[in-house]
C-alpha cells in the first residue's frame, strides 16, 4: 500500500548550523493555541480556482484540497471507491448504480446529494477528454434517491470507472449543484466542496497566497491511504500556499526554516538540498513526468509525414534529459508513449536516432529550407531547456530554425492559433505532462487523431489511430487493451504524432518536521503531520 517516502539526510555541509536553525527557526509547532500550519511553495501561483475550466496542475492540486471524488486510483492503478459507499453494474454492463457514503457534507453544511454528483459529472463531461468520451456513450444519468443515482450507457463502455476515478487533468470533482451549473467556460463563483480542507476566501491573494483550513466535518474512509484512494485524514490545522517566483529564494527560505515544503525545486538545487540538514527530498510522484515535442500538422513543413519522421530520427532523449535535468538519478530514458513500468508500457515502433536517414527523408519530404518556428517559454524552467536542444538537432540535419523566446502565457495563447506561420502560427512547441495523464490511448491527448475538429494543439489527423482509440475504450479485456495500446503507439510513431523527450522524476523538498507525505500523482496534504 502507500509507503511514506523520504530519506533523511543528516551529514554534510554545515550540519550543526542547520540543526540549530531548525530548532531556533520557528516557535515549536506544538505550542498550545498556535495553529499547526504547513507553509508550502507550489510550482506556480493559484489564480484560476476552477479545476474544470483549466487543465493547469495548480488548479487540479487546489481541487484535491477542497473537493472530493466519487472514485480514486490507488498505487496499483486500481480504481477504488471514495465518496461512493458501494456500486453495482447490471448484467448487460449498461447500467451502473452508485450509492454515496453516509454523512457526506459540503463546506457550507449542505449534505451531498445525487443531484450534486450528476451536475458535477455533466459539467466535467463538457471539458475533459475522457469525460467527453464517457458522455458520448452515456444515455442518461438518473437520480434514484438522495444518496443513490444511476448511469445508463447506450452501449458497453470499459472506462466508466477509469474515467470517474481519473487521477489528473480535469479530475471529476464533486461540487454543489448550484455551483456545478456555472457554464463550463466561466470560473466557479464560490470555492465550496466536500473535501478534507476548506478554502479561506478572506485570505486568498491570487498569484500570491492561498490558505486552507482543516474541514472538521470531513469523514475519512476506513481503508489506509494509497495514492488518491483510501482515508484522507487531515493532521494539521492550516495549509498556506505561498508563491515564491524566485527558486533561489524559495530554497533558501526552506533551508532557513521560513517555509516547510517546496513542490518542485529545480534539479540544479537538489545537490544543495541534499547537503542541507533538516531537509528531506520526497519523491511523492514516483510515476514522474515526461517532456513532449509537438509538431503542427497544419503548417508546412510538418504537414508532410516524411518530414515528421525525419524529426523523430534527428532527436535523441539523452540530450533533452541532460539539458533539462542533468542529474542521472532523476532521469528515466523511456520511449514508451504510455509511460514505462505501467500496464501499457512497450517500446514498440520507437525511432532510433539516424541522421543520414533523417536527411534523406527530409529531401523526400520536399523540405524547402523555410525556417521552422520553435516556440520557447523562457519563464517556465522545466520546458525552457527543450527548445534549444531541438533547434540544434534540426540544424544538424540541415533545417533552418527560428527559436522564438516568449513567456508561457504567450505560448499558450499562440499554440491555440491554426493560422499559417506568417500570421502568428507556429511549427513546434514543447511542454511537459504528469505521467498519470498519459497512461492510455484515450487519456493521452498526444495520440488524439481528430485533427482540426476536437483534436489537441497540433491537430494531428488520422482515422486509423482514432479507430484504435475507440477500440481501446470499448475493450473490457485488459490483455486486449494492452495489445491495442501497442498498436496505437506503433501507429503514432509512424505518422509522427509527437516525440517523448524523456521521463524524469521531480522530488519535492520538505522540512524534516513534516512526515506522512503520501506518494501520489499530485501533491496532497492530507495524512501529513508537522512535529
Amino acid at each position: 500500500m502507500g509507503k511514506v517516502v523520504g530519506k533523511s539526510v543528516g551529514s554534510g555541509w554545515p550540519a550543526t548550523l542547520g540543526l540549530l536553525a531548525a530548532l531556533a527557526g520557528t516557535a515549536p509547532a506544538l505550542a498550545q493555541g498556535k495553529p499547526v500550519t504547513i507553509r508550502a511553495v507550489m510550482h506556480s501561483g493559484l489564480r484560476i480556482t476552477d479545476p474544470i475550466i483549466t487543465t493547469a496542475y495548480i488548479a487540479r492540486n487546489h481541487g484535491y484540497m477542497i473537493y472530493d471524488t466519487l472514485f480514486a486510483t490507488d498505487a496499483a492503478f486500481k480504481v477504488q471507491p471514495q465518496m461512493v459507499q458501494d456500486y453495482s453494474v447490471s448484467d448487460d454492463t449498461l447500467t451502473y448504480s452508485f450509492t454515496l457514503r453516509e454523512g457526506l457534507k459540503f463546506h457550507d453544511g449542505a449534505p451531498v446529494k445525487s443531484e450534486d454528483c450528476i451536475a458535477s459529472i455533466q459539467r466535467w463531461g463538457k471539458r475533459d477528454g475522457m469525460g467527453q468520451k464517457l458522455m458520448e456513450y452515456t444515455a442518461s444519468l438518473d437520480v434514484v434517491d438522495d444518496r443513490t443515482f444511476k448511469l445508463v450507457l447506450k452501449r458497453p463502455y470499459g472506462l466508466v470507472l477509469a474515467s470517474l476515478g481519473k487521477p489528473s487533468a480535469n479530475v471529476p470533482f464533486i461540487m454543489p449543484k448550484r455551483i456545478a451549473e456555472t457554464p463550463a467556460d466561466r470560473n466557479v463563483p464560490e470555492e465550496i466542496g466536500s473535501g478534507p480542507f476548506k478554502f479561506v476566501k478572506g485570505e486568498f491573494q491570487p498569484g500570491l497566497k492561498v490558505v486552507y483550513e482543516k474541514n472538521a466535518d470531513y469523514v475519512p474512509r476506513k481503508e489506509a491511504p494509497s495514492w488518491l484512494a483510501g482515508a484522507k485524514t487531515v493532521k494539521v490545522d492550516r495549509v498556506e500556499w505561498i508563491n515564491i517566483t524566485d527558486y533561489q529564494t524559495a530554497v533558501n527560505a526552506l533551508i532557513n526554516g521560513e517555509i516547510d515544503y517546496v513542490e518542485q525545486p529545480p534539479h540544479d538545487f537538489l545537490p544543495i538540498l541534499k547537503g542541507a540538514s533538516g531537509i528531506n527530498l520526497v519523491n511523492f510522484n514516483t510515476l514522474g513526468m515526461s517532456g513532449m515535442l509537438r509538431m503542427n500538422w497544419l503548417n508546412p513543413p510538418f504537414d508532410n509525414a516524411k518530414v515528421r519522421q525525419a524529426v523523430l530520427l534527428a532527436v535523441n532523449q539523452q540530450d533533452y534529459l541532460d539539458a533539462q535535468i542533468g542529474d542521472p538519478d532523476y532521469m528515466v530514458p523511456c520511449l514508451a508513449l504510455f509511460i514505462c513500468k505501467t500496464p501499457n508500457a512497450t517500446e514498440a515502433g520507437a525511432p532510433k536516432p539516424d541522421l543520414a536517414k533523417a536527411k534523406q527523408l527530409l529531401k523526400e519530404g520536399g523540405y524547402d529550407g523555410k525556417p521552422v518556428v520553435i516556440m520557447q517559454p523562457t519563464d517556465l524552467a522545466i520546458s525552457a531547456s527543450l527548445g534549444p536542444v531541438t533547434a540544434q538537432a534540426l540544424r544538424k540535419i540541415g533545417m533552418t530554425v527560428d527559436l522564438q523566446a516568449m513567456d508561457w502565457q504567450t505560448l499558450v495563447g499562440r499554440r491555440a492559433k491554426q493560422d499559417p506561420v506568417s500570421q502568428g502560427g507556429w511549427n513546434i512547441f514543447h511542454t511537459f505532462w504528469v505521467n498519470a495523464d498519459l497512461l492510455n490511448p484515450v487519456n493521452n491527448v498526444g495520440v488524439n487523431g481528430r485533427g482540426k475538429a476536437g483534436g489537441w494543439f497540433g491537430w494531428a489527423e488520422d482515422a486509423e489511430i482514432e479507430a484504435l482509440r475507440n477500440a481501446y475504450a470499448l475493450e473490457t479485456d485488459p490483455a486486449k487493451q494492452v495489445d491495442i495500446a501497442r498498436q496505437t503507439q506503433e501507429r503514432a510513431y509512424t505518422i509522427g504524432m509527437y516525440f517523448p523527450t524523456g521521463q524524469f522524476t521531480q522530488p519535492a523538498a520538505a522540512s524534516a518536521k513534516l512526515s506522512g507525505i503520501l506518494e501520489a500523482p499530485a501533491p496532497v496534504f492530507w495524512n501529513v503531520e508537522k512535529k
Binding site: V251, A381, V389, T410
Partner: protein
C-alpha cells in the same frame, strides 16, 4: 530606457545644460583623467567584442548538455552554463550585443529626443502639446513599458532597443528643450534672426551646437543604463532571444544555479559592472570637462 526601477541613472535634473560663462571652445576632453580611464576600459571591451572569434572562443551557441555547469577549467576558462555552453565564448560574443544595445539605445533616444526637444523649444504652441505627451510617456514606469513592448511584440534585438529607448526619449527631449529655451535669448541668436536667418538654418547652425555637450553627457548615461536594463529584461524573460548571447541573457539563465554555479552570473555581471562603470565615469568626466563652471579656469579681473 533606463532600468528605471532598478537602475535609475543620474538625471541632471537641474543641469541647465548651457554653461553660463561662454566664449570658450570645447577644451580638450581627453585631459580629464576619469575620461581616459573610462575610455581605456571601453576600448578593451570593444576590441574583445570585435575580435571575438580570435580570442580562443568556440561557438557560443553550441550545446553540450553532458558538460553542464562545469566550474572554470582548462577546457572552459569561465566554466559552462546550464546547457553546457562555454561561458567564456558567450561572454565575449555577448559583449557585441550588450555594447550594441547600449549605444544603439543611446543613439536612438538622443536623436529622437533632440528633434522633439528642438521643436518643442522653438515652436511655442507645439510646446505645450508635446510636453504633455512627454509627461505621459514619462509617467509610465519605463521598465513596465519596455516589458510590455518586448513581450507584446516579440523578443528581438530591434524590439529591445526600441523598447529601452522610448522611455528615455522624454528625458532627452526635456533636456534639449531646456537648452533651446535658454539659448534662443542669446544675443548671437537674435543677431542671426535680425540677419534674416530662417528657422531651420537657425536651429541647425546656432541652437543645435549648444546641445551637443549636454547630449554627449546624457548619451553616456543612457548607454550605461541601457546595458543594465537589457540585463533586467532578460532576467525577467522579456529580453533578447535566448540563443543570442548577451550579458543579460547569460545572467538570466545563470540565475537559477547561482549558489552551485556562481561563475555563470558573476563573469557577465562583472563585465556589465565594469562597462557601465566606465561609461558612467566617462559621462562624469565629460560633464566636468565640458562644463566651464566646474572646470578649473582662472579668471583674472
Amino acid at each position: 530606457m533606463s532600468a528605471l526601477d532598478e537602475t535609475a541613472r543620474p538625471l541632471p535634473a537641474n543641469d541647465p545644460g548651457v554653461p553660463r560663462k561662454r566664449g570658450r571652445a570645447l577644451p580638450p576632453m581627453l585631459r580629464h583623467p576619469a575620461v581616459l580611464a573610462g575610455l581605456a576600459v571601453l576600448l578593451l571591451v570593444g576590441l574583445a567584442a570585435l575580435a571575438a572569434p580570435w580570442l580562443w572562443t568556440g561557438d557560443p551557441i553550441l550545446l553540450r548538455p553532458r558538460l553542464r555547469l562545469r566550474p572554470p577549467s582548462e577546457a572552459a576558462w569561465l566554466g559552462t552554463d546550464a546547457f553546457g555552453r562555454d561561458v567564456w565564448s558567450r561572454v565575449v560574443y555577448g559583449a557585441r550585443v550588450s555594447l550594441a544595445i547600449g549605444f544603439a539605445v543611446s543613439a536612438v533616444s538622443v536623436l529622437v529626443g533632440l528633434t522633439i526637444g528642438l521643436v518643442a523649444g522653438y515652436v511655442r504652441w507645439l510646446d505645450a502639446v508635446v510636453m504633455r505627451i512627454m509627461d505621459g510617456v514619462m509617467a509610465i514606469p519605463s521598465i513596465l513599458l519596455a516589458i510590455a513592448m518586448v513581450t507584446l511584440s516579440g523578443a528581438g534585438i530591434g524590439t529591445v532597443i526600441v523598447a529601452i529607448a522610448i522611455p528615455e526619449v522624454p528625458r532627452v527631449a526635456r533636456l534639449v528643450r531646456g537648452v533651446v529655451l535658454s539659448v534662443r535669448t542669446e544675443p548671437y541668436v537674435e543677431a542671426a534672426i535680425g540677419a534674416g536667418t530662417r528657422l531651420p538654418k537657425l536651429l541647425v547652425r546656432h541652437v543645435l551646437p549648444n546641445t551637443i555637450a549636454p547630449l554627449i553627457v546624457q548619451g553616456t548615461y543612457v548607454a550605461a543604463s541601457a546595458i543594465l536594463t537589457e540585463a533586467i529584461l532578460s532576467f525577467l524573460g522579456a529580453g533578447i532571444p535566448t540563443e543570442v548571447p548577451s550579458w543579460g541573457n547569460i545572467m538570466a539563465e545563470g540565475r537559477q544555479a547561482f549558489q552551485i554555479a556562481p561563475w555563470v552570473i558573476l563573469f557577465p555581471g562583472l563585465c556589465v559592472a565594469a562597462t557601465v562603470l566606465a561609461v558612467n565615469v566617462i559621462g562624469d568626466g565629460l560633464r566636468d570637462a565640458l562644463d566651464p563652471r566646474t572646470a578649473r579656469g582662472v579668471g583674472v579681473r
